[in-house]
């Protein structure tokens, strides 16, 4: 098992090549190059699968990693180190993430070739899609925060382009701007955090940061009155909040559905939003050192619950999914905050599978029915059987039904949150984290089944109402409904097979310990899952005195300086944990509670929308529904208060400073000074330079001229006479 750069770099480079070719020659290629983009992602997938196989089944140690680096630029002088490295950092976590990103992105590309067929933006879409994927793969491979930031911004640009790809629609343009500007707020903080770390450590390599934490280089450093670690961790987490759409920077994600549905799938599942969670996980030791994990947990809890409540009243199928993404991202952030590192990461993976599938299913529905408002849908089960099957599997997964993947990951996060909130002796106010988490889990089950029931069950309203008129509704693809009959879905490699493949991975046993044979049928035994063994929070002490490897050198398995810890040697938590019993009971309670809550949510949805024996929210709590439909007024708050009052007021203040102070005193004052200077200079110029210098020279020349013109008569023979006389006089004086 040898790793050269040549066996890692194609993961990132092949989509980049596809991007370049499609960007410049896409129009000339058959099908505008969509096959090329899909093929390039498949190449990435093959290389990722090899790495995944080596890392996961080759039984590397938990903390085995490959780190290849070269110095990009070096501004060091003296003992102060300031340099930026570029390189590849590959550990178990990146191996799993690479496989997920490339695999999910490949299926999304495959689906897009069907979905975007005959669309006017087909070619353009397949320019940005591979670039987006390559940026995410590059971000996962990065070994430092600088290159991470570069890929982070490329993704920001791609999301902007994909959301606003229908650039003739004003709403799409607004949504893309909103996404760009909102994430920009977070990005500024991320950059600030990176620069702060660079200032202190002289390097932003993960390895160097971990080593610095272990060596205590942060001790006693402070900035702006708070500890340096807190400042840097907070800045980086604010960046993650922008990208992962956490409260209060969440407003862009629901609008991001203005783009084509597969683009949304890519943004919501495999790339973009997981980048924020990714950087939080990579910088987890810094977050712990900065003591902001409680803040992370609270932000995650607010997002998880708040987004779930909004999702219960949305009528657009994609809006429900968008808010569910927000909510699930909240769970990942809770996981980071409460210290269930690998469960948070596992939720990234499980969520990517089921959310990509949900969005692609929604795309399949929209493309087949040309309608995305749920009240106008219904009874689609008969027409779209494969889509129904896939979407139902994903809904079961996201709702946290046992034996599905969402249960495995979310339950672990909730169990840890329960322990964190009630049993670990923290501030009692932090009990809000598990409470909001469990409430959000119940709501998740409710709104997801509400979506399923409204879309696939009940009567089909499309089929017999208004054919051809009545609902001239533009869906996200810009189609106009022309009232055609819904075609029965056939099994198609590009339409349903990606959904069905993704649906397979919503089963829980892939992620729980069942696959590796440690906990067959053991639903609550979280200790022996392969995720648990392979992924652990970075042990910073191990990075001290880490020897760098040259970029061109081959890595072999034997070069690992750490002992191989095998699956069977390690049991759950490393080291003796006095609270292990408590933790175990918290997990058991959490699992039982979340099963109960999930089924309660499903039952409620069933009663409301199938049996119709319970009135829906709208009729029961009209006031609350209105608040939720306004999304708690965040959009209005940002526009009316922050922008109209705050920003415009600030602008007026700045204008007053500019016009009142700067213009009046500085600019006009400078003008007055200039006027005096001008007068002095003019006098000097007229009198000294012109009168004395220039005219004086003329007068002097004139005087000489009067004398010289007598001699210079122009008669050459006169000159000869003069010459002879001078010579004669010379000889005369010589001789006498």
């Amino acid at each position: 098992m040898e790793y050269t750069v040549g066996s890692i770099a194609p993961i990132f480079l092949s989509p980049v090549i596809a991007f370049v070719i499609n960007a410049f020659f896409g129009r000339k290629l058959p099908r505008q190059g969509d096959w090329l983009a899909t093929l390039s992602i498949f190449i990435s997938f093959i290389f990722s699968a090899r790495i995944f196989g080596d890392f996961v089944f080759g039984q590397f140690a938990t903390d085995f990693f490959i780190h290849k680096t070269f110095t990009w630029f070096d501004l060091s002088h003296g003992s102060q180190i300031w340099k930026v490295d570029m390189g590849i950092y590959l550990d178990n976590m990146s191996a799993i993430m690479l496989l997920m990103v490339s695999g999910v992105a490949f299926l999304i590309h495959l689906f897009s070739t069907w979905y975007m067929d005959h669309d006017e933006k087909h070619g353009r879409f397949f320019v940005f899609l591979p670039l987006f994927t390559s940026a995410m793969l590059g971000l996962v491979l990065s070994d430092n925060l600088f290159s991470l930031f570069i890929f982070w911004e490329i993704m920001g640009f791609c999301s902007y382009s994909l959301i606003g790809i229908y650039n003739k629609k004003e709403k799409a343009g607004d949504a893309s701007l909103k996404a760009f500007m909102t994430t920009r707020v977070g990005d500024v903080f991320l950059l600030l955090g990176i620069v702060a770390l660079w200032m202190l450590l002289g390097s932003v390599n993960y390895v160097d940061i971990y080593a610095a934490i272990a060596e205590g280089k942060f001790d006693g450093q402070s900035v702006l009155g708070i500890s340096f670690a807190t400042f840097a961790a907070l800045c980086i987490f604010l960046g993650a909040m922008g990208k992962s759409a956490q409260f209060p920077l969440h407003v862009w994600l629901p609008d991001a559905m203005m783009g084509p549905t597969p683009g949304s799938a890519l943004i919501h599942a495999a790339t973009m939003v997981t980048a924020g969670v990714w950087v939080s996980l990579r910088m987890y030791p810094l977050m712990v050192l900065g003591d902001i994990t409680w803040f992370i947990a609270v932000i995650g809890a607010i997002t998880a619950f708040g987004a779930a409540t909004i999702a219960t009243v949305q009528t657009d199928i994609k809006a429900v999914l968008a808010y569910s993404t927000l909510s699930q991202l909240g769970y990942m952030i809770i996981g980071v905050g409460v210290g269930s590192y690998n469960a948070a990461f596992m939720h990234v993976i499980t969520h990517a599978c089921f959310k990509a599938c949900l969005f692609l299913s929604a795309g399949s529905i929209i493309h087949s029915v040309h309608e995305q408002e749920m009240p106008k849908l219904g009874g689609l089960r008969k027409y779209l059987p494969y889509t129904h099957f896939a979407m139902m599997a994903c809904t079961l997964a996201i709702a946290g039904i046992p034996f599905f993947s969402g249960f495995v990951s979310k339950d672990r996060i909730l169990g840890d949150a329960l322990y964190y909130g009630f049993m670990s002796g923290q501030n009692p106010l932090l009990a809000i984290v598990p409470i909001l988490g469990f409430a959000g889990a119940g709501l998740t089950a409710f709104y997801m089944f509400r979506m399923m029931f409204l879309t696939f069950y009940g009567e089909n309203k499309q089929h017999h109402d208004n054919h051809g008129h009545g609902h001239g509704h533009h869906d996200a693809k810009g189609h106009k409904s022309h009232g055609h009959d819904i075609h029965h879905e056939h099994l198609d490699v590009r339409q349903n097979v990606p959904l069905l493949i993704l649906a397979v991975f919503t089963l829980g046993f892939w992620f729980s310990g069942t696959l590796t044979g440690q906990s067959f049928g053991n639903l609550f035994g979280a200790k022996t899952e392969w995720f648990k063994i392979l992924v652990e929070a970075p042990q910073v002490e191990k990075f001290v005195n880490h020897k760098r490897e040259d970029f061109s050198k081959m890595d072999t398995r034997e070069q690992s300086h750490l002992e191989h810890a095998h699956y069977h040697h390690q049991t759950g938590y490393a080291g003796p944990n006095p609270d292990e019993h408590k933790l175990h009971s918290a997990h058991t309670i959490g699992a039982i509670a979340s099963i109960f809550i999930a089924f309660a949510g499903v039952l409620l949805a069933f009663l409301m929308y199938i049996k119709k024996s319970v009135n829906p929210w709208a009729t029961r709590f009209p006031g609350l529904t209105k608040v939720l439909q306004n999304k708690y007024g965040f959009d209005d708050f940002y526009i009316d208060v922050l922008i109209k009052k705050g920003l415009l007021g600030l602008n007026r203040g700045l204008a007053w400073i500019d016009m009142g102070i700067y213009d009046r005193y500085v600019v006009d004052g400078a003008a007055a000074v200039n006027r005096v200077m001008y007068k002095v200079a003019k006098w000097f110029d007229n009198v000294v330079i012109d009168a004395i210098g220039v005219d004086g020279t003329g007068v002097a020349v004139n005087l000489f001229n009067l004398v010289l013109r007598i001699v210079q008569s122009g008669k050459i023979q006169f000159y000869f006479i003069m010459l002879v006389m001078v010579l004669a006089s010379y000889i005369w004086t010589l001789n006498f």
Binding site: K715, Q717, F720, I721, V724
Partner: protein, 101 residues
Amino acid sequence: MMSLGSYLIISLILFVIGLVVMLSRKNIVAILLGIELILNAAALNFVAYSRYVTNNLDGHIFSLFIIVVAAAEAAVGLAIVIRFFQIKETIHIDEATQLRN
């Protein structure tokens, strides 16, 4: 027997004739001829002194130089005269007063 004195007298006669021609004639070609006579007087002087006083070849070489320079100078001078004639249609020396005033 020829002596140094007779050479010097010939040379002096040539020089004076050349000087008079140069100063008195108004024809530019005549003035150039006068200059040639003066140069030849000088060359004759060099050869005479070289033969009777120093008794080496320095003077001969110098007179060769003078002949070469005189040829070059005559070429340039005659070219000027031709151009002058083309412009003014005369070779009268007093017409060459364009730089005046």
